[in-house]
């Protein structure tokens, strides 16, 4: 019983929130870099999943990396944290579903999660995304330390 309480306290601690927030945000910023620089290659990756209609592939390849970058930066800085965590969580849920469907369909492709040349898509990719989803949920539901938004609001109220 005591161990469960300690675990609960650890998982909901603001410093744990900070750690996970910066980590997941950093992952998203890193993931967006290659895709923003090489949208053509990312479009091919999206097409290889064979889920989106052909007219939506290029548009998605242009928009999604910027969404990843924006939500990642907001998470790392701690600005609009809940919204950013919801956005990141939503994207991770979507990625997990897409990976699951692709694995079940048996399409032999690479993940394309970070760069276009990567290890083939596997069940490990799905578990990794679900782990990141759990981290995003922690950030959404529990407070995290050193949020820039709090610091700015505090200094503004002090100035008044």
């Amino acid at each position: 019983m005591k161990a469960v309480q300690v675990l609960k306290r650890c998982l909901s601690h603001p410093w744990m929130g900070l750690l996970l927030r910066v980590y997941v945000g950093g992952v998203f910023v890193y993931a967006s870099m290659y895709k923003i620089n090489y949208p053509g290659e990312f479009a091919e990756t999206i097409a290889s999943y064979q889920l989106l209609p052909y007219w939506a592939v290029n548009l998605t390849a242009l928009i999604m990396p910027w969404l990843e970058l924006a939500s990642g930066v907001l998470l790392v800085l701690g600005v609009r944290t809940k919204s950013a965590a919801a956005l990141v969580g939503g994207m991770l849920l979507l990625f997990s579903l897409v990976i699951l469907v692709t694995l079940l369909r048996g399409i032999p492709i690479g993940c394309g999660c970070f760069t276009s040349v990567e290890e083939p898509l596997g069940w490990g990719t799905l578990w990794r995304d679900l782990l990141w989803l759990a981290m995003a949920l922690q950030v959404y539901f529990f407070p995290s330390a050193l949020q820039l938004e709090d610091q700015v609001l505090r200094s503004l109220s002090e100035a008044e």
Partner: protein, 90 residues
């Protein structure tokens, strides 16, 4: 001549019997190796290979049209082919 325009992984998974794999990304390298010498200028080339997300067939047909005149695209994907009861190689 039958050309499969899809990426190599999809070709390896399933393709039409006797099809040559010629994806657009590797066209400049594979065309001289697989088709360049043997193909006569007036010989018919049938190109197939599309998915819901990409029309690989049209991309490769455009590239082939720069070298040959008699290029035709077979529309439809592998599912359409198999639904008609036609054979597919592993």
């Amino acid at each position: 001549v039958l050309v499969d325009a899809r990426p190599a992984e999809l070709f390896a998974q399933k393709h039409l019997p006797a099809a040559i794999n010629l994806p657009a990304a590797l066209f400049d390298i594979l065309y001289p190796l697989k088709l360049g010498r043997e193909l006569k200028p007036d010989q018919a080339v049938l190109v197939y290979g599309r998915t819901i997300s990409r029309r690989y067939d049209e991309d490769v047909a455009q590239m082939l049209l720069q070298r040959h005149e008699n290029i035709k695209v077979i529309e439809g994907d592998m599912k359409t082919w198999e639904a008609k009861g036609l054979p597919a190689a592993p």
